[in-house]
């Protein structure tokens, strides 16, 4: 049984009496892809900063590769790759130089770092932009360069904070593909996201975080199984009528969630529930049957949707 590469026990971070992270505990095994899922302000980034050894915890225990990041900041950081939420690439340096200089910060010898930079540019599909200015790259390219930069020291754990936020769908898919390759190679990933599809694509296991606390933990599939039904029927009656209709159809499906713009009816057979609604003489403006997602899990656990 491999030992955990990250162990957090009642990890807490307070800012002026406010607990941004309030006693969370989790373990990440080597090679695992672990996610922190939650809305903005849930404490995900603060957790990432503590794991990344750039923020000291207020209380609790934290061990990264067997080391306490409070005591051994530079040592811990030397074995991590960090992709921060907002790109902090070095705008004064060109694309390839960004990798070289970053590698030098880790003390990688000049003779090695050039080869590494070229291999990583290849991986990030940026070889033809080696001499470009960072400013001239697109958002997706900058993100890929940031990921390449985070890999320059052969990190044992890669920390990704909202890796695809702000990217267009195509750029996201390219990025997911790259991250998936890393995962296949056995890189341990710790990522935060507020995108369900991202968590489902990349995470072996995740915790749902809200207001600094962990609400649930498990694989995406097991969380959906535990906290939601197989299918979800979404119906819209117009924002005026949704709440009123919800009372009329009470009893249909296992559970009904009333959102401002639509009703969610949880059931293992969405089509059958839709038939019951129409049989009751109600005609929804639109209807959709879909599989349950982590969004539904989050809604169930917190009573709120992730992206508001």
């Amino acid at each position: 049984m491999p030992t955990s590469v990250i162990t957090a026990n009642l990890l807490t971070k307070e800012y002026k009496g406010f607990a941004a992270v309030d006693g969370i505990s989790f373990d990440v095994a080597p090679g695992e892809s672990f996610g922190l899922l939650g809305p903005n302000g849930a404490g995900k980034s603060t957790t990432m900063r503590m794991v990344g050894a750039v923020s000291t915890r207020t209380s609790g225990e934290l061990s990264i590769l067997g080391l306490d990041p409070n005591e051994h900041g530079p040592e811990v950081r030397s074995q991590l790759g960090v992709v921060p939420q907002s790109d902090n690439l070095d705008m004064e340096l060109r694309v390839r130089d960004n990798l070289i200089v970053y590698g030098r910060y880790f003390g990688i010898p000049r003779s090695e770092v050039g080869k590494k930079a070229d291999a990583l540019l290849e991986f990030a599909q940026l070889s033809d932009r080696a001499k470009s200015k960072v400013d001239d790259l697109s958002g997706g390219m900058k993100r890929r360069l940031t990921i390449a930069r985070a890999l320059i020291n052969d990190p044992r754990i890669l920390l990704l904070d909202e890796p695809t936020t702000g990217l267009d769908p195509q750029a996201r898919h390219i990025l997911w593909d790259r991250l998936f390759r890393l995962k296949e190679q056995g890189t341990t990933l710790l990522l935060t996201t507020h995108y369900m599809d991202e968590a489902e694509q990349l995470c072996d296991r995740l915790v749902v975080v809200d207001k600094g606390s962990i609400m649930a933990e498990g694989s995406p599939a097991s969380l959906i199984k535990k906290y939601s039904t197989r299918e979800v029927l979404e119906v819209r009656f117009g924002s005026e009528r949704n709440a009123q209709v919800a009372e009329q159809i009470a009893g249909i499906g296992e559970r009904i969630e009333v959102l401002p713009d639509r009703l969610l009816i949880y059931s293992d057979n969405g089509e059958a529930e839709l038939a019951r609604i129409t049989a009751a003489g109600l005609e929804p403006m639109t209807s959709l049957v879909r599989r349950s997602s982590l969004e539904d899990v989050f809604l169930r656990l917190t009573g709120r949707s992730l992206i508001e």
């Binding site: 491999p2 750039v54 530079p74 950081r77 070095d90 004064e92 056995g186």
Partner: protein, 276 residues
């Protein structure tokens, strides 16, 4: 979960590479980054910093010098240009060091997130502070070395000890770079940054740069003697005119303290800002 990673390296081996959480012994990589980044610098700005004291030397030293004649310093009479040139040499070291350690540092800290990026690597805050201060010191040293050449050409190095002015200006540049970065690290707005210029100008004009300290009444002399530039001016003037005295060691000590204070404050501030 099937992948086995390399065993965690033994504690002892890692200890040797990192001295605590502040310093990884790799400030040179920060200097390297700075040198690479200067390729994209606005060179007109850099060069103008060197010429400023040269212009003062020409206008005041040569122009005004005709009216002034000689000045008494360290028990000897020297020409007016030879009196102000060492002061301007100290000023050029200060200018170079301040240029890098204030505005450049401010930009990297507040806007470019350069230090934030550095501190997610195995670098510690002391590596960043030391590297950036070294870079600023380097610019001061380059300005000063250029000015030394100008002085030599004009025959303003009066004694062989003038050669010792080179390490002296390194010390001066180090002091200003260190303190400059420390102060800048506490600045949050452009308005606050303007205060630095507001303090530097009078210090430049009144630190016995263009006339001896003795023209001031005693209380004012105390104030001037508390300021860093006066110590630099006196140190360099003693060396280029050959008027040595044991009291010059106090000037050296002043700068050593300034360097230490700057490093301590900069390191603490970087840690507070980026490693909270």
């Amino acid at each position: 979960m099937t992948v086995t990673l390399a065993p965690v390296r033994p504690e002892a081996a890692r200890r040797s590479r990192f001295a605590g959480s502040l310093y990884a012994g790799n400030a040179r990589s920060v200097v390297g980054r700075g040198l690479l980044a200067t390729k994209s610098t606005n060179w007109a700005v850099v060069v103008s910093g060197f010429f400023e004291p040269v212009f003062y030397l020409l206008s005041m030293g040569i122009g005004l010098g005709v009216l002034v004649g000689t000045v008494s310093t360290g028990g000897q009479q020297v020409s007016y240009p030879a009196f102000i040139a060492p002061a301007l040499l100290a000023v050029s070291a200060m200018n170079g060091a301040i240029y890098d350690s204030t505005w450049n540092v401010f930009f990297k800290m507040q806007y470019a997130k350069t230090y934030e990026g550095m501190l997610t690597t195995s670098l510690g805050p002391l590596d960043v502070a030391f590297g950036e201060i070294s870079l600023a010191l380097l610019r001061g040293a380059v300005y000063a070395a250029g000015f030394m050449v100008v002085m030599q050409l004009f025959g303003l190095n009066l004694a062989w000890t003038a050669i010792l002015a080179l390490p002296a200006v390194l010390l001066i540049a180090f002091g200003f770079a260190s303190l400059g970065m420390a102060i800048t690290s506490y600045m949050k707005t452009f308005q606050q940054m303007d205060w630095i210029a507001f303090i530097l100008l009078p210090m430049f004009l009144f630190s016995a740069t263009f006339y001896p300290l003795s023209v001031y009444p005693e209380p004012i002399q105390w104030v001037i003697q508390a300021l860093p530039l006066w110590h630099g001016v006196e140190l360099v003037r003693g060396l280029t005119t050959g008027a040595l005295s044991i009291a010059m060691l106090w000037h050296v000590l002043y700068y050593l303290v300034m360097i230490a204070v700057g490093l301590v404050f900069t390191t603490n501030r970087l840690r507070a800002l980026f490693l909270d």
